[in-house]
Amino acid sequence: MPLTLTLLGDFVMKKVVLFAVFLMLCSSAAMADTLQLLTWKGYAPKELVDKFEKETGIKVEATFSNNEEMIAKLRATRGAGFDLVQPSQDRISSVQKEFKIYQPIDYKKIDVGQIVPSMLEAVKKNTLVEGKSYAVPFCWGTSGLVVNGAQVKGATSWKALIDPQYKGRISYRLKRPALIGLGFALGFDPFALYADEKGYAAMLAKIEEELIKAKPLVKNYWANGDQLLESVRAGEVTVAEAWDNGAWKLHDGNKDIDFVAPVEGALGWIDTFAIPAKAKNLDAAYKWINFIMKPENSAVFTNAEKTATAAKGAGKFIDPAFQANFDRSYPQTVIDKIKWYPPVPAKLEALEGKVLDKIKAAN
């Protein structure tokens, strides 16, 4: 489908809302109680959706997306159309300041006893805008390297992504994590430079130069997780920037392939729950949060998606295979080194966008 249509779609949406309101007035009698959830693929496992419907009578309609598209969708409708979204914690505060697409979380309605306290505090702090916080943690993980140990030895640094000895076997997503990871590898501290726009631009220029120079080494820039897993599984890619959960999925099929947290530190993200400004079914949104953060429910998610949960006490429901993956990849020393994304200032994303375009266009 031509892109312009998709983009127009977003604009059209707010006009369509008028229509939709009209239609709803006609058919509201037939409407069931539903929760419109905008989230990542895999974050609403069918098992839990069915269980939730049975317990509460609320139907969950999930739309799968990513950080950037979530923001764009809500921005187009000024925060309408969804009752609950799941952006990463570092992408909330600057977006909220600029576009006002979320509403503050009423933490009294959240069963906070179910959530790991340190994570809740960190997310509250990072999403603080004008004295109010906007998110509840859901799960966490890191970006690092997925490495095929049978063919690749000694890939322990983000620099592996620009290392000539892996020519033609390298893949990464042409997005922020690759830039930030390489920034650390080249001796910068990108997160410290967040406050210094000039310094950040200088760092990006250096990274751009390196990535363009190393472009002939790259097999492809992966665009979706399944595509990457497929190429690593087939042996077409042997070292790639990836999320830990993807790497563990591959490890289950082929023991040579595993997650490697780079020596500079893996990049830690926390995905959250946030409520759009014009959410219609607030009650259902809070119910879903409290439901999925129950230890036994969050363990279902963790076991299926191999993603660590922010729920407390899920341990005894967790699949031992997942625990083994987790313990192997994250000894305490590695966990201590994780670089957690601080909230990203809006201006920097425009700078990054341009650099990414230039890398993609370079020959």
Binding site: V12, K15, K219, E236, A350, K354
Partner: protein, 278 residues
């Protein structure tokens, strides 16, 4: 002229559709494209011309779209001729169905089909290796030639259908007479078939050119790492950089520049848009 009530009842949905879903959003985009941080500005348009990466991407996209359109035309002409003039009437419907069959699944599925065939561990490489033609798998994806092939594949139908409909009206006796008088095949194509098919060629080319220029999936998935397409740049402005103003400006530049290219193409070949309907 006085319109009856029925007329307005029937025309209202069309008008609503056009105004709400096409006119208003475009107006919104147009206003957006002239906005800066806080004030009205032309910066968004100026950026396009001052940043080489933007206009170079556009030039690249436009050139590849023209090449794709020409290739599609060259491939579609004999196909259309075969379907209309050479194939038996009974076979004709079947051939048209064959042409349309791939379009019953979405573009994404078709592109993934090609990727399964062409990838390093893919079907084609498997056969090449088992036939002993290569010992090393060859990477056939992620280059410009593959991308153009994919684009030609996705646009074939839109060229064949207008060509089939104009060739239908071509009188067989003209070709027979030319053959009797000893004209060569090239001469027949040049002086009879192509002039007759002009309206079909022009409308098919316009459709294919616009579709290719506005394509997003194929360049992105099959072109791989060097394939920055202009539409992707618009997407990046909207989604990755959150710069809707810049993205809107690019959208309008795409509209204006592609219309200009079509206008130029019509001028150069001495066509007029009004003649297409006849």
């Amino acid at each position: 002229m006085k319109r009856s009530g029925m007329f307005w009842i029937f025309i209202t949905p069309v008008l609503l559709w056009l105004v709400l879903l096409i006119f208003l959003p475009h107006l919104d985009l147009l206003l957006l494209s002239f906005r800066g941080d806080a004030s009205w500005t032309l910066d968004n348009y100026r950026n396009f011309f001052t940043e080489p990466i933007y206009w170079l991407t556009f030039v690249r996209t436009a050139l590849y779209s023209i090449i794709t359109t020409l290739l599609t035309l060259i491939l579609a002409l004999p196909v259309a001729l075969y379907v209309t003039k050479i194939a038996k009437p009974g076979l004709r419907g079947f051939l048209m169905v064959l042409l349309m069959l791939p379009f019953w699944v979405s573009e994404l599925v078709r592109i993934y089909g090609w990727m399964i065939l062409l990838r390093e561990s893919g079907v084609l490489n498997y056969f090449l290796q088992s036939l002993g033609l290569t010992n090393q798998p060859v990477e056939m994806l992620y280059n410009d030639a593959t991308m153009i092939m994919g684009l030609v594949y996705t646009s074939m139908l839109f060229m064949v259908i207008p060509l089939v409909s104009v060739m239908d009206s071509l009188d067989n006796s003209l070709i027979e007479a030319a053959c009797d008088l000893g004209a060569s095949k090239i001469c027949i194509w040049r002086t009879i078939i192509i002039p007759h098919c002009k309206p079909g060629i022009v409308s098919g080319s316009i459709v294919v050119f616009m579709l290719v220029l506005g394509n997003y999936l194929t360049p992105n998935l099959m072109g791989g790492k060097n394939s920055l397409w202009f539409t992707e740049q618009i997407y990046n402005q909207f989604i990755a950089s959150f710069n809707w103003n810049q993205g809107a400006a690019f959208g309008f530049l795409l509209l204006v520049l592609s219309s200009a290219i079509i206008w130029l193409g019509l001028k150069l070949t001495g066509q007029r848009l009004g003649e297409l309907s006849s």
